[in-house]
């Protein structure tokens, strides 16, 4: 298996990662509720899309349309979806109305408990990109929603299979996790499945790497924290004490 470096789309993060993400790999995006971890994830997806990669967004607590609308505030381009490079797997809409239909870029899963349908949908998209030789980034928003309705053991079993398939297809995955919503043991178990974690701290407007390049602090992208634009551009990566 080749290990290719993919620029993240955030320059200072790339410096900290010595060039970018290793592919295939998966990262937890950790932060307290409303800490902009989702927005950081969107910018990481944008980073791939700007390089002609594809992106799959799995939404568990919003409809695909709501997710797209939010993404529009953070650089989403309609053109990407028109080119077939953005796909949504929507685990939420059918819980509101079973009759809502799929579209060329949206696959609806009957519920957040239907792991089979979810894995089949993601695998279909990933296979299609793999056959087109198009690298793919995936964001699951969020693991915490799964943990509300399923036990940790169930989620771990799902991830074991799901991440294995993503690795085979050479994909890059980002998995959102709410800080403070789960016990330490849950965090630690989920970390065993990832190559590293990016912890988003809204108070300091910084991201901290865990695992690979452990302890590196990186300013949040200005698009995520508009007020911090000026300061962020002046700040470089610093190791934590």
């Amino acid at each position: 298996m080749t290990h290719e470096l993919l620029p993240s789309g955030i320059d200072l993060l790339d410096s900290a990662l010595n060039g970018g993400f290793t592919k295939p790999s998966n990262f937890l995006l950790i932060g307290t509720p409303l800490s902009a971890k989702k927005e950081v994830g969107l910018i990481l997806l944008n980073g791939g899309l700007e390089r002609d990669e594809a992106a799959i967004y799995i939404s568990t607590s919003n409809t695909a349309e709501e997710a797209r609308s939010h993404w529009e505030d953070y650089g989403f381009k309609e053109q990407w979806e028109e080119e077939g490079r953005v796909k949504f797997v929507d685990c939420y809409s059918k819980m509101l109305s079973a009759t809502v239909s799929d579209t060329p870029s949206i696959r609806r899963v009957p519920s957040i408990l239907d792991y089979t349908k979810l894995s089949v949908a993601v695998n279909d998209w990933c296979t299609s990109y793999y056959l087109q030789n198009t690298p793919v980034r995936l964001m699951l928003d969020s693991l915490s929603a799964f943990l509300i309705y399923s036990s940790l053991q169930t989620v771990m079993r799902f991830l074991h299979i799901f991440l294995g398939q993503l690795r085979k297809q050479n994909a890059l995955g980002f998995f959102l996790l709410e800080e403070g919503a789960h016990e330490i043991v849950t965090f630690n178990q989920l970390k065993t499945f990832s190559n590293g974690a990016i912890r988003v701290n809204e108070e300091s407007n910084m991201m901290q790497l865990e695992g690979y390049r452990h302890g590196m602090n990186i300013p949040l992208p200005s698009a995520v924290v508009p007020k911090a634009t000026a300061e962020a551009s002046q700040v470089s990566c610093t190791p934590t004490k």
Partner: protein, 399 residues
């Protein structure tokens, strides 16, 4: 309904591939498991089973615990095997063990108010089986056993054992959906031991997933796995599917004619009557859909042979029976296409020409093993070329 081996009465599922694998169909008054790989979706197969039972006047009872009843109805409509009318007509009943998980009420005939309690689930299942059996022959679907195992562990298997006894009493058929999510061995084994018949939906371990259906246990007896590749058409249900059969052989052996004679529809990329890229044909045969890929015979196109041969499940090697000097080239092409070792059938073509070698002579000159079937063919004669396809299909299915 008929008796298999003079013993158990069987009810056909209505899917010919599965009925063949199950020696006639589902065991009457018994339960069976649809065990799926996590990348294979078993629901469409089960909807097709259920739809066929309801069409024949049966009564359906469908338990859902990881999706809403409305989602199942919607999926059936997308598959063009609509279940809504059967529900409206009082032939299909849902047990809703899902809505309460989200604090919602349900309008379904049966509602599990406390889906977090296996006894509560069991009580409603027993009630539904008992009441619905009075209306007709019940086909019961449990979707899904793995969601219950996630919730209750092994406890749900003891309850399932009780339902099996009820099924025997009412001559009902129970069908459990189960996705094998990397459970510990003791759970996997306990699930497998609970059922006398198991239909497996497997995704072959490739980068691009290929689905096959097989039966690993039939009427309590483990059976040797005969895997049938399948395609789950968005409409029209489950069909056997052979995504690639390579048709190869030397220049002017008659590959293009053979592909066109066999195919329901076919295209060839040709220049001045000679194939210069490939022949492609689509065939519907014996409940299977098959795609044929014909190669170019001229050596200068050999670099694309390997690419065309990739992921083929079998091959038809076509030789001109009047040109034995081309036979070594035919064998070379099998190697270059990377299909040597796969099931294949030799078509000794152009048998209508006066100087054609007999099938036996072709076999001897090519030094072909007895295991390889050889058929004398005339490219335009459908009977002879279909025989080639039949033999190849049998070989693929028996591997």
């Amino acid at each position: 309904m008929f008796k298999s081996n003079g013993q158990t009465t069987k009810v056909p599922t209505g899917i010919s591939i599965v009925d063949t694998l199950l020696d006639g169909g589902m065991p009457n008054g018994d339960s069976f498991l649809i065990r799926a790989h996590p990348l294979a979706d078993p629901l469409s197969m089960v909807i097709e089973f259920l739809h066929n039972q309801l069409k024949n006047g049966g009564v359906g009872v469908f338990l859902v615990n990881n999706k809403s009843p409305a989602s199942v109805l919607e999926e059936s409509a997308i598959l063009k095997m609509g279940l809504r009318d059967f529900k409206r007509n009082g032939q299909l009943f849902f047990i809703d063990a899902y809505s309460a998980l989200f604090g919602l009420r349900s309008n379904e005939a049966y509602f599990v108010e406390d889906p977090n309690n296996p006894v509560s689930v069991s009580k409603v299942v027993a009630q539904a089986l008992s009441e619905c059996s009075k209306k007709g022959k019940v086909f019961f679907v449990y979707d899904s056993l793995n969601t219950s195992i996630d919730e209750f562990g092994n406890a749900i298997l003891a309850e399932a054992n009780t339902w099996k006894r009820i099924a025997i009493a009412f001559n009902a058929i129970l069908c459990f959906i189960y996705t094998e999510w990397n459970y510990p061995k003791d759970i996997s084994e306990a699930v497998a031991n609970l059922f006398s018949s198991i239909v497996d939906l497997i995704t072959l371990e490739r980068i691009v997933a290929t689905q096959v259906v097989t039966v690993s246990k039939n009427e309590g007896t483990p059976v040797s796995k005969r895997m049938v590749p399948i395609k789950n058409a968005v409409t029209g249900g489950i069909k056997g599917y052979v995504p690639k059969i390579l048709v190869t052989g030397p220049f002017h052996a008659g590959k293009t004619t053979l592909v066109h004679t066999l195919s329901t529809r076919a295209v060839s990329v040709q220049r001045m009557g000679t194939t210069v890229a490939l022949d492609f044909g689509h065939v519907n045969h014996r409940g299977f859909t098959l795609d044929l890929f014909g190669t170019v015979g001229q050596p200068r196109f050999d670099p694309i042979l390997e690419r065309l041969g990739g992921e083929a499940l079998g091959a038809i090697l076509v030789v001109d029976s009047t040109k034995p000097e081309e036979f070594p080239r035919a064998k070379e092409m099998m190697h270059k296409a990377g299909v040597h070792g796969l099931p294949y059938v030799l078509a000794a073509n152009k048998q209508d020409l006066p100087d054609a070698l007999s099938v036996e002579e072709v076999k001897k000159k090519m030094n072909i093993s007895d295991e390889v079937a050889i058929v004398g063919t005339v490219g335009t004669d459908k009977v002879s070329v279909v025989k080639v396809l039949d033999l190849l299909l049998d070989k693929i299915l028996s591997t």
